[in-house]
Structure formats: C-alpha cells, structure tokens
Symmetry: C2
Subunit: 159 residues, 2 copies
DNA sequence: CACAATTAAATTGCACGCAAGTGAATTTTG
DNA sequence: CAAAATTCACTTGCGTGCAATTTAATTGTG
C-alpha cells in the first residue's frame, strides 16, 4: 500500500475559523439538541441517551445489549451502567439469555411499554423546536448519514 | 397567554424509527467525528474539546474563560477543569485579570502557539475522512447553524 | 473431549457536559 | 458610600462516552 503524498497545502485562514468548521457545527448542534430535549425528557424522567435506548426497544422489542449498542453506536462501557439505571427506574428488565448465558436480554416492563404513548408528544415538541420543514430535516439527516458513513470507515491510517 | 392546543396528532410509525430521527443523526455523527479526530489528536496530546479551545485561542488570541465558553457553548463547569489540564500540558497560561479580578485570562504559551502549525495537517486529515465536497460541507454547516439557532431559542415553554 | 481463541457484558479510570451551589469581585441602588 | 444584586470562575455530583481490563460462556481445533 503506497501512501499517496499527504499533501498539506496551505488552507486559507478564513477556512480555519471555528464557525467554518463542520465538525464544530455538528458538535454544537448535538449539544443544542440535548438541551432542547432536556425539559421535555425531565418530565418523564429520562436522559437523552436513555430516551434513545427506549426508542430502540419501542421499535424493535426485546434485544441483547450488543444489538442495542450496534443500533446506537455505543459500547457496553456506556450501556451497562445506563441500562442499570433504566432498570432501577422500572422501565426495563435485564435477563440473562438461557440459550447463551454471555448475553443479557433487555426488554420493556409494562411501565416502559406504557411510556411509548409519550413518543408523539416528545417528537412533536422537538419537531416544533427544530423549526425545519420535513424536507429540510430529511435532507440534513441523509447528508449526516452519509458523512457518518465516511467518518466511520476512516482506516486510522496513520496510527 | 393562552396556550394553543398542543395538538399531538398521530405521527406515522415509519417516522418514529431511530434512523429517521434527525436528532440521532446529529448525535451519532458528532461521536463519529470525535472518533475520527482521536488518532490524529492523540499524536499532539489533545482531546477533541481541548482542540476546539485551542482553535479559539489560535483564532482570537488571549481571552477570558467566559468568552471561550460563549464561542464553544460551554460553561465554566466544563471549561475550568479542561483549561486546568491544558495548562498542565504547558499549552496555555491562566492569569487573573488585574482590571477585573473575577475574570481569568487564558492565553497561549510559546508551545501552544507553536502547535498552531499542526492545524493544516489536522484539518486536511479530517477533510479527507469526511469525504465531502466543499460545497456539501458548507451547505451542511449552514443548515446545522440554522437548526442550532432554532433549538437554542426554545423557550422551555412548559417547565 | 481438553484447550485455545473468541465473544458478551461488566468494571475501572479518565475526560467531558451540565445543574447547582460556593466565594470573591464588581456593579447597581438607595 | 454601604447594602443588595449581579457576575465570574471554581467546585461538587451525576450521567454519559470510550479505552482497557476482567470474568464468564461459547466456539473452534486438534
């Protein structure tokens, strides 16, 4: 594998500004989303990552920890304590799989299932806060999806 | 102020899927960016948020903590320990302002200033990882900027 | 079937991010 | 000018994220 000359040609000053950085736009918008969700999620006692886990379970039903991690791009170091909190909140159960005792199957309790009724309220509220047209939202989502695909397959080429 | 009927009309199942959520696209892309930056930033001994602080200082010169926080949308609870680590790394100085002793002025050390030479290498590497055209990047950045503006001014209407 | 390699989840350690509270300095007000 | 209100940074506590390690279970191999 011959490395092509990683040519570091001069980038114009203007392009180096924080406000010009796509990475920062994504970073800051992610925080803005979390903050926008907070007052809404506080009412149902969820953090934003916990809400994402609930979304996955509402959509797909009971799942092993591994699969939840694949859906959300999170590892067990993040999920294990998070799921423990959701369990203590009485929203999910964690049961070790009898077929394969390495796995833990996560499923919704009746309370967790019932909370699914809140989805519309939550999504409507956020949709209004975002203040985008559905077309814009879809467009942005697809662009981000592509971008994420590109970034994900970065071969950690140099180290 | 009469609340307009927060009409929670039915959202189609398909739209509730995780993959359809713009918030998740932003969330996951932010993490993908951080991971893409990691091998590059490891070489210069910075975390991604630390890199953002350095960007601000390279661009604007010495600044009080407050202003850095405004630029990055971070509060002192996040910045104080982060800046302390950058100081221990020998990249910045923190000096209490003599005019207003409530403020702490953050400035670059010679080592921090010298690191500015790494910018081009870092940005070029990330640019290649992102694999977008400059037009796409600009487009996405501007859409995110607008979105962030909308989310930021969400009046926490209900609590 | 024993034994090495692999896999899943949990744990540990560190660095954010943010709410809430503290303490010191400055500004506002009476 | 003195007291009250505000501002700034720091600290504390909690919940992520993630690398690295640990423990237990399963799979692959001879």
């Amino acid at each position: 594998m011959k490395a092509h000359t990683t040519k570091t040609m001069e980038i114009p000053q203007e392009e180096k500004r924080l406000e010009k950085q796509l990475c920062f736009a994504v970073y800051a918008t992610a925080h803005a989303f979390t903050r926008a969700y907070k007052p809404i999620l506080d009412k149902v006692g969820l953090t934003y990552p916990q809400y994402l886990v609930m979304l996955v379970l509402w959509e797909r039903g009971e799942l092993p920890v591994k699969t939840i991690g694949e859906q959300l791009d999170l590892d067990s170091g993040t999920l294990s304590p998070l799921l423990k909190r959701l369990e203590q909140s009485g929203l999910i159960k964690r049961i070790r799989d009898l077929r394969d005792e390495r796995q833990v199957i996560v499923s919704l309790t009746p309370r967790g299932e019932a909370m699914k009724g809140e989805i519309d309220t939550i999504m409507t509220a956020i949709g209004q806060a975002a203040g985008c047209t559905l077309k814009e939202m879809a467009e942005m989502r697809d662009m981000l999806h592509r971008l994420r695909g590109n970034l994900g397959r970065t071969g950690t080429d140099g180290g």
